[in-house]
């Protein structure tokens, strides 16, 4: 557990980077520090491993003031990941990851085999071990950085904007990977970012900082979206707050509407007979959706023809009923988006195998939201 007690950092020229911070980071979860430039989030993070020392107040790590430990020794027990990874260019990837174990006295061979395990854990191919950082892509370098931080199996991991320097697709991938890792390893992670969406996506608890080092709100992401503490937090969170909040409500037990299913290759006349409300979803042999056909499309075709994949209208996003394998499937937001993005009035619901199990309408989702409010699931 990490405790900030009345922590202040004031610089000689008068700037206050952190202003009287009181905050407790619970064990075993991802706590995100988020805010605009100059809000003190990075400064606060760096005070945990004594890269910066506070001007006033103290920081306790598992009950012990960090100032009582010798800096180098303290840091060996804390993982540290920074924005551009900061890999040692003169060492191979493997030796980079093995750095802290060697530093703490492990033999080189033991350290290297541990490093190999970690490279596998972060999803890097074994062939990269003998390469040098300059030969890796940005995303790969970040993963090595994470592996290096985990090498000595520290209970605490500090991450300073680790995914900010890569492109959005790679970033998404790295975020998924972090969530996966965390579910396996259950570390105490303190994560700094300037991106509120990243904070909401990753954080179990999110601390929003204001410029000048003041803590504005410290809450769960759902509470943050539902009840921002003030004007600043609300505008920092941005638009579509309500819609994004739906992402935290599970859509279990939501009623599915019946939807017409037409296997691909069905003759047009048969297909026309099956249409419900003028629409049907075309599926493959496994029942997976390929697209929609409508009354208009079918009437323009020859009755003797069969429904082929060229005739389809593309569908919207899919709502996964079973949220297996992680991700944001199975939430009300997911269901609503499926309904809204569909060309027909129904969104397509699929099971874990991807086969169509039914349709979902926007009304049903909003009804489920009302029910959630009534039952107290939505934070007020």
């Amino acid at each position: 557990m990490i405790e900030f007690q009345a922590v202040t950092k004031r610089y000689p020229d008068g700037t206050v980077a952190v202003d009287n911070l009181d905050l407790t980071v619970e064990d075993g979860g991802i706590t995100v520090f988020v805010g605009p430039s100059g809000c003190g989030k990075t400064t606060s993070l760096r005070m945990i491993n004594r890269m910066i020392d506070p001007t006033a107040g103290r920081i306790l790590l598992d009950g012990k003031d960090v100032r009582e430990s010798q800096p180098a020794r303290l840091r060996r027990g804390i993982g540290y990941v920074i924005q551009h990874a900061g890999l040692f260019p003169h060492r191979t990837v493997l030796d980079n990851v093995a750095t802290v174990p060697v530093l703490t006295g492990a033999g080189r061979r033991a350290a290297r085999s541990r490093a190999t395990e970690l490279l596998d854990l972060v999803g890097l191919p074994a062939g990269l071990a003998k390469r040098y950082p300059a030969q890796l892509s940005g995303g790969q370098q970040q993963r090595v950085g994470v592996a290096r931080a985990l090498a000595a199996d520290p209970p605490v991991l500090l991450m300073d904007e680790p995914f900010s320097a890569v492109d959005p697709i790679v970033r998404d991938d790295l975020q998924q990977q972090l969530l996966r890792l965390q579910s396996e390893l259950d570390k105490t992670i303190v994560f700094v970012t300037h991106d509120i969406d990243e904070a909401i996506k990753l954080g179990d608890r999110v601390a929003v900082f204001r410029v000048g080092g003041v803590l504005a709100q410290y809450d769960s992401p759902a509470a943050l979206l539902a009840k921002p503490a003030d004007e600043f937090v609300s505008s920092f969170i941005g638009r579509d707050r309500g819609y994004r909040a739906l992402g935290f409500l599970a859509a279990k037990g939501i009623d599915l509407a019946p939807v017409a299913r037409v296997p691909v290759g069905t003759p047009v006349s048969e297909a026309r007979a099956k249409l419900t409300d003028g629409w049907a979803v075309v599926v493959d042999e496994s029942g997976r959706p390929l697209g929609w056909v409508s009354e208009d499309v079918l009437s323009a075709m020859d009755s003797s023809d069969a429904v082929g994949s060229d005739d389809l209208i593309s569908g919207g996003t899919l709502y996964r009923v079973d949220a297996e394998g992680g991700g944001t499937a199975g939430t009300l937001r997911n269901a609503l988006d499926a309904a809204l993005s569909s060309p027909a009035r129904l969104g397509i619901a699929v099971d874990a195998a991807g086969a169509v199990v039914g349709g979902i309408s926007a009304d049903t989702v909003l009804g489920a939201l009302a029910a959630a409010r009534d039952s107290g699931e939505v934070p007020i």
Partner: protein
């Protein structure tokens, strides 16, 4: 002067003469005129080696300290650039005369060390300054002690520029050691000075021969050091351009104190 009248009046090819001088086995062993080429080479290398060793012992620690802490960098850059202006001949003459002929070797060494320090200092300093600050931050954040950060991270990364400084310094010293003969010392410069005293074609042949030897020695030493650099520098550091960072934006421009060759 590749054709000139020889002693018997027939035109002579000076290239051939020089080649003959260089391949004459008598010149390669001690004879009545001179100690022989191998001995001169050894003298030259000794002057060079001695000076470089002392210069490294002085310049590298200072360069590492200033490069790691960043204090005094301005001084280093300034000094390194201005030293290039000092005339080698003048320094050699001045010091040998001032200290007396008996201490000629010591005087020469002082001059050589003084000339070798600026490039070594500049190379070491800029090598350490050019280490990515994020790498140093990561190293510190991982729990490395300051001295480990310097020796295990900063110096290995700075090695290419440090060795560049060493190469420049060595060349400078070899060149100045060639002049040492003017003040009565040995080395390959001996052939240039002695040959000049004869004043004839035969004399010029000796001068040119000496010049070829000096050039060859310099090239061989440079190639050897380049080879050492290849061996010693981590493969992960090859092909790095220091003046271009396309992947990140730096707020401070990268400092280069010398226009480095190769």
């Amino acid at each position: 002067m590749d054709q000139g009248p020889g002693r018997d009046g027939a035109p002579v090819n000076v290239f051939e003469l020089v080649w003959a001088w260089l391949t004459d086995p008598e010149n390669w062993q001690k004879n009545f005129r001179d100690l022989g080429i191998p001995a001169r080479i050894l003298e030259h290398l000794t002057y060079t080696g001695l000076a470089i060793v002392f210069a490294v012992m002085i310049a590298v620690p200072i360069g590492i300290y200033v490069g790691h802490t960043g204090r005094g960098g301005f001084l280093v850059v300034g000094v390194a650039n201005w030293f290039r202006a000092l005339p080698e001949l003048g320094l050699v003459i001045l010091l040998v005369l001032a200290m007396g002929v008996a201490l000629a070797l010591q005087a020469l060494t002082i001059v050589l060390v003084a000339l070798a320090i600026p490039p070594l200092l500049a190379g070491t300093y800029s090598g350490l300054r050019n280490v990515d600050p994020e790498v140093v931050d990561a190293a510190r954040g991982m729990g490395m002690r300051e001295r480990d950060i310097v020796w295990r991270v900063e110096v290995p990364i700075a090695l290419p520029l440090m060795l560049g400084g060493l190469r420049t310094a060595t060349l400078q010293v070899i060149a100045t050691a060639s002049i040492a003969a003017y003040m009565g010392l040995g080395g390959l410069g001996r052939y240039v000075i002695d040959g000049q005293r004869f004043g004839t074609l035969e004399g010029y042949t000796m001068m040119a021969g000496g010049a070829v030897l000096i050039a060859a020695l310099a090239i061989v030493v440079e190639l050897t050091l380049a080879g050492v650099q290849r061996l010693v520098v981590s493969p992960g550091l090859r092909n790095r351009k220091f003046s271009r960072r396309e992947t990140r934006v730096r707020t401070k421009p990268v400092e280069k104190t010398e226009v480095a060759i190769s």
